[in-house]
């Protein structure tokens, strides 16, 4: 996915700041011509990561936009349990876990960096042919 543009947002974490993140995602979805449901999926993925990752400090979300879609990186999330869950085996059918939620709403995800207990989670959402 060749990168054309990059947006980076560092924000405090908490319900009162979620609107800021959603607005940025809305703008990105507009630029990429994502469908309303794709925007909603991407917002949900980021929201769940921030909620389950339990960050205590500001988090940086970077977006790399290309014609093919958007790649987001969310971190640092200091949560070893989260890293284990995201890197572990596929959850059994019928179990509702964060990996299952992410695999449903984005095209791919992964833990990109784990150092000193910090991790950055990568999310990719492809532009669906309209």
């Amino acid at each position: 996915m060749p990168v054309a543009d990059r947006i980076e947002l560092t924000t405090p974490v908490g319900r009162s700041w979620e609107a800021v993140i959603r607005m940025v995602l809305g703008g990105i979805a507009d630029r990429l011509d994502l469908g309303f449901d794709q925007l909603d999926d991407l917002q949900l993925a980021v929201e769940r990561l921030l909620a389950e990752g339990d960050p205590h400090d500001p988090v940086t979300i970077s977006f790399e936009l290309s014609q093919g879609g958007v790649r987001a990186r969310v971190g640092p999330l200091r949560d070893a349990a989260l890293a284990d869950a995201l890197q572990g085996p596929e959850p059994p059918p019928g179990e509702l876990t964060l990996p299952r939620i992410l695999s449903t709403v984005v095209d791919s995800y992964g833990v990109e960096e784990v150092a000193d207990g910090h991790l950055v989670v990568r999310l990719e959402k492809l532009v669906r042919a309209q």
Partner: protein, 247 residues
């Protein structure tokens, strides 16, 4: 302890039973017993753009947190300990909603019209419309559409404090389950499974359709007979409720 003994036990005895023996019924009695305190405190914040019921529900979360965090070594009455927790929870709720209160009326109105328009466009296009297509319908800018979408999110907080919005939905208080003995949240943070069973049937079914069967929001909306935006809201609220239970 039988139900009668529980109802006549002192707060301290109930707290001891809950914290030392994991007796969830003792916790329920404590919550029920101190709901009048929550109602009394909630009334102070009435008339600020939130229904009293919603404020009471938020306050009840503060009460539950106070019960859960109470340390038996404290020589302080539960009411004394719970009051700042309840008030704090209510204040935090209003603070978090501060942005919403300032949403311009034009955006509120645009948001109100957006759901039916998205449904109509989805049906017409055979897919979910883009923001530009929605903006085209309203002859407005895409920025206005994004802002109006957010206005909707802000006015319908997707949290445990949102309260029930229909007959089929449980009051958040009813969805709060007991904590299993030895349960460690950290180990299970990524698993929402333990809280799934406590959701209302419809919400559980929607989550199953979305995350197990892989249906899109549009497909779920058609099956359940509600709008896509409502499906989106229910999914978020369900996940938030489940997480709150685990927290």
């Amino acid at each position: 302890m039988n139900p009668v003994e529980l109802s006549t036990a002192t707060d301290r005895d109930l707290l001891r039973r809950y914290h030392e023996e994991g007796d969830a019924s003792a916790r329920e009695v404590l919550v029920e017993r101190h709901l009048p305190l929550v109602r009394s405190l909630a009334r102070r914040y009435a008339g600020r753009g939130e229904s009293l019921d919603d404020i009471e529900q938020v306050g009840a979360i503060g009460l539950i947190k106070a019960i859960d965090r109470y340390e038996l070594s404290r020589e302080v009455a539960l009411t004394t300990y719970a009051t700042p927790n309840v008030v704090g929870e209510i204040k935090r709720h209003f603070r978090d909603k501060g942005w919403a209160i300032r949403v311009p009326r034009a955006l509120q109105e645009l948001n109100g019209k957006m759901g039916p328009t998205i449904e109509r466009l989805t049906s017409k296009l055979g897919r979910s419309p883009s923001i530009a297509e929605i903006a085209g319908e309203f002859k407005t800018t895409t920025e206005q559409v994004v802002e109006a979408m957010e206005a909707g999110s802000a006015y319908a907080p997707l949290s445990l404090s949102a309260g029930p919005s229909g007959d089929e939905e449980l009051d958040p208080m009813e969805t709060i389950g007991s904590t299993d003995a030895g349960y460690e949240r950290t180990d299970d943070r990524a698993s929402l499974e333990p809280a799934l069973a406590a959701l209302p049937d419809r919400e559980r079914e929607i989550l199953r359709m979305r995350f197990e069967d892989g249906l899109t929001q549009t497909q779920i909306a058609e099956r359940v007979g509600i709008s896509q935006m409502h499906v989106s809201r229910l999914i978020r609220r369900s996940l938030e409720r489940m997480r709150s239970q685990l927290g």
